[in-house]
């Protein structure tokens, strides 16, 4: 019930393409869904986050789509750039606890 499942494990996209990473959760008590970006040797950094009262949130080239009934959410990276090459983790938490449950991670490679 605490799991967050993420796919795909790895993704290769051409520069300018759209990268899509999907996550699914089980616990309906989760009410905060962030995406973190991690470069090698660095800590995870918050990219964008959403709450279940909205179905979509966009910040620049990054968009989260959220489907509450399906218990799924996804990250879309538009116009992907080589600098976006990193590992992306989805996560979920109950806001009042702050404890993040992470997905398994997706390694994104954007080819020039």
């Amino acid at each position: 019930q605490q799991q967050v499942k993420q796919s795909p494990q790895s993704l290769i996209v051409q520069k300018g393409g759209i990268s899509i990473i999907n996550c699914a959760y089980e616990n309906t008590a989760f009410d905060y869904f962030p995406w973190y970006q991690q470069f090698p040797g660095k800590g995870p950094a918050l990219l964008i986050a959403i709450r279940p009262d909205v179905s979509e949130k966009k910040e620049g080239r990054f968009t989260i789509s959220f489907n509450k009934s399906a218990k799924q959410f996804s990250l879309h990276i538009m116009d992907s750039q080589p600098g976006d090459s990193a590992t992306y983790f989805c996560a979920a938490s109950k806001f009042n606890t702050g404890k993040l449950i992470f997905g398994q991670g997706t390694t994104l490679q954007v080819k020039p």
Binding site: G43, A45, T97, G98
Partner: protein, 113 residues
């Protein structure tokens, strides 16, 4: 921009030795966390700390682990008797009172030989 800092960046120790990993959360943050990431795997929650006590801990956080906020700025994770399987990156994180954004430090790579 304020950031979470962690020391050391890399710690090598012998199995059975005690290690202390140190973190300085963002000042005025109130909630503190430790996570670990075994190489190539996902980030896993270890423990959360608020108001000078543990608020939640995972199954991983057994009696070998302890956390402390010895003063107003540092937050430490102690592993009493390290095992080979404790080798991982350990991340500290913190949250302020008026935000839900959890800020992570750069991590400490712990290698147990």
């Amino acid at each position: 921009e304020p950031e979470v800092t962690q020391t050391p960046s890399h710690q090598v120790t012998q199995m059975g030795q005690e290690v202390i990993l140190r973190c300085v959360p963002i000042s005025n943050h109130l909630y503190f966390y430790w996570y670990r990431q075994i190489l190539g795997q996902k980030v896993e929650f270890l423990v959360s700390f608020y108001n000078n006590e543990i608020s939640e801990k995972s199954e991983i956080f057994d009696d070998q682990f302890s956390v402390e906020r010895p003063d107003g700025s540092n937050f430490t994770l102690k592993i009493r008797s390290t095992k080979l399987e404790d080798s991982a990156m350990y991340f500290c994180a913190s949250i302020g009172a008026s935000t839900d954004t959890q800020y992570f430090g750069p991590g400490t790579r712990l290698t147990v030989l």
